[in-house]
């Protein structure tokens, strides 16, 4: 184990996990990187989605989700958004929820839910994408 610099924290404080967990800078950087990525991605997805919803029908939705280039952007958008949203909600929960058990359960619940949405979204997109390759009823 690496030698730690001298600490003023009490052993009790350290064992309870209070104070800095040294994850703050990684969290901060991830929010900035996902927000930078989401500037072009969210504009693309929002404008295309609005066009399909307001002026198109089912056929246009399928056509959108069958273009590999569009689907690449949509999957990147979905993953960056879920990461950004889960981390953002984590900060909101940590600010307002003071019961440790509820805080812990809701932060992890949101992260699991985000992971499930990512898998569900990507698999549904892949299913639509494969209609153009495979014959279907």
């Amino acid at each position: 184990m690496k030698k730690q610099p001298p600490s003023f924290r009490t052993p009790l404080g350290r064992v309870r996990g209070l104070g800095s967990a040294h994850h703050g800078s990684g969290h901060w950087l991830a929010m900035r990187l996902t927000s930078l990525a989401l500037i072009p991605l969210s504009l693309y997805v929002a404008s295309t989605f609005m066009n399909v919803l307001a002026f198109g029908g089912y056929v246009d939705a399928v056509a959108w989700l069958q273009s590999p280039f569009a689907v690449t952007l949509l999957i990147l958008f979905l993953l960056a958004t879920l990461h950004h949203a889960a981390n953002g909600l984590q900060v909101v929960i940590e600010d307002y929820v003071h019961c440790e058990a509820v805080k812990f359960a809701s932060v992890f619940g949101i992260k699991f839910f985000a992971a499930a949405l990512a898998v569900l979204g990507v698999l549904s997109i892949v299913k639509i994408l494969f209609w153009s390759l495979l014959p279907h009823a």
């Binding site: 500037i39 609005m50 089912y58 979204g121 549904s124 997109i125 639509i128």
Partner: protein, 133 residues
């Protein structure tokens, strides 16, 4: 912190109720509120993708849920939240770069965000309602 009982039922600073709403605090809480609203919209977007994958009947059923006043208000709210969070997020990135990071810059960029959010949201809905092509 001394003992667990010492942190119970203490008044928490800041005492929000004594502050007059100001541009800095109001725009900040709007950024947070619109972020939460958009996060709530992500499962709906995924549900839309699932509905496309489920076929035309399920798709018609799902999009039909939004063809009423409640659905339209939800979509309007999400479009407003998107544009507000988009522009205010860029404002935060600009601050992170060290630009406009003073009282005057706060007010200038704040009014810019309010104005461009209104323009973006109204232009989007003007297009949807066929007011411009």
């Amino acid at each position: 912190m001394t003992t667990p009982s010492a942190k119970q039922a203490r008044p928490l600073s800041p005492h929000l109720s004594v502050y007059k709403p100001q541009m800095s605090s109001v725009l900040s809480i709007f950024h947070r509120a619109t972020g939460v609203a958009l996060a709530a919209g992500v499962p709906v977007l995924v549900a839309w993708i699932v509905a496309v994958a489920a076929g035309p009947d399920i798709y018609a059923l799902f999009t039909g849920l939004f063809h009423n006043i409640v659905g339209q208000i939800l979509l309007f709210g999400w479009s407003f939240s998107f544009f507000y969070h988009f522009w205010a997020g860029i404002r935060h990135l600009v601050w992170d770069a060290g630009w406009f990071l003073h009282k005057k810059g706060m007010a200038q960029t704040g009014w810019f965000v309010v104005g461009i959010t209104a323009i973006s949201t109204l232009a989007t809905w003007a297009k949807i309602w066929g007011l411009w092509s």
